[in-house]
Subunit: 236 residues, 2 copies
């Protein structure tokens, strides 16, 4: 752990001020979609990748706002933290802030669906309901909505896939009109959810770059540099 | 926190050896019912009440086995920890151990239902599925199955309710053939899920006792004493 702490301090020191003066809005963690006061649907996102990115973007000089679902890690010092629960909460928190941002990074694992109705009392088991059906409705697409803004920030998405990585990632890039997408295969051990390491394939309209397995802190430094680089190219 | 730590040490010292020589099996935490490799249904249980009970039962002289769903707290030293994910996993872990136990405490918030089928690939959004339906099937009832064993241990259940506390708790006590049930209203702030305090109404066939708002550690001491007391009466 000491080695980890040292390498983190080292890598933070090494971050060039490539985002100096930029405002960066980032989402992280899972969302919770409540079925009743006790039960909810969620996912395995730990928030680690998003929190590392928030930290490194700040180290690179950005003014960072972090909109976070429920996680068990502390927000980096100096980052403005906005805590949310559901995808609808996160949508509201992001859209009310997105217009004034230079960069938007959607690192949260937002639930695609929410229960069609939330029951105010705990759903009771009775003898006659051995099976049950939950009706779900689609949540708004936070990233697509930000990318559709007139004065939109540079938009970076994430894609956690279990197969056909580039196919799904490029589809999402194009469909949502993103500037960049970071994709990973969550089915491979040591990558993605709830681990400290990750490997990412980053795609943009006319190119891409593979970032091989590394700590999420190290990947965050590389991603911040890549974002600054692609932003500069996009403005030419 | 120092005061908390001191009061914990104090209360552990104060615990009479009322469970000396007894074997106690306890479940704690939520379960996770997987929808696909990324998403799952769970609940707000932190595991704190169950972990406090495991700790205090051990302090009272019991040999403790703790079957725990995913939580963010450490198991008390000296307790045998068995980690599980789903309700089916927990059922298997408990039923394979229950026969040799003197006491079974079901403090876990076990999912009543699980998805009828788990999808091996992440479920993809497509344009034509704005709504979605999840079919759920009933999970086995761990506590009722233990209480139905020929040579059953002294069975203690929990009931987290949002209304009609005694009605639902006594119904559960009778229906599942329990020896004792600990009920709380999770709709009241400071009680139940994800907080450090709780208040419990404990019921048995011909009586009951209210344990007023206190730390989960303090309540655990009182509950351990109550379990020992009711076991002694049951054997007369």
């Amino acid at each position: 752990e000491l080695v980890d702490a040292c390498s983190e301090v080292f890598s933070k020191r090494e971050v060039a001020q490539v985002l100096a003066g930029k405002k960066l809005l980032i989402t992280a963690g899972p969302t919770r979609e409540e079925l009743d006061p006790v039960r909810y649907i969620t996912n395995h996102s730990s928030g680690k990748m998003g929190y590392a990115l928030a930290e490194m973007a700040m180290a690179a000089g950005a003014q960072v706002t972090l909109v976070s679902g429920p996680v068990n890690i502390s927000a980096p010092k100096g980052v403005e933290l906005v805590r949310v629960g559901s995808a609808l909460d996160m949508h509201q928190a992001v859209l009310s802030r997105a217009q004034s941002q230079d960069i938007f990074v959607a690192a949260a694992a937002v639930a695609d669906y929410r229960p069609a109705s939330r029951v105010d009392q705990k759903i009771k088991k009775t003898g006659d309901n051995d099976d049950m059906v939950i009706e779900l409705v689609r949540n708004p697409d936070i990233l697509a909505d930000v990318a559709a803004l007139a004065n939109k920030p540079f938009c970076v998405g994430f894609a956690a896939e279990t197969r056909d990585l580039e196919h799904y990632a490029r589809g999402k890039l194009k469909r949502k009109k993103l500037d960049m997408i970071c994709a990973n295969l969550v089915s491979i051990p040591g990558q993605g959810f709830n681990v400290d390491t990750n490997a990412l394939d980053v795609f943009w309209k006319d190119g891409g770059k593979s970032l091989s397995l590394a700590s999420k802190q190290q990947l965050a430094v590389l991603l911040v540099e890549l974002i600054a680089e692609r932003m500069a190219v996009a403005r030419q």
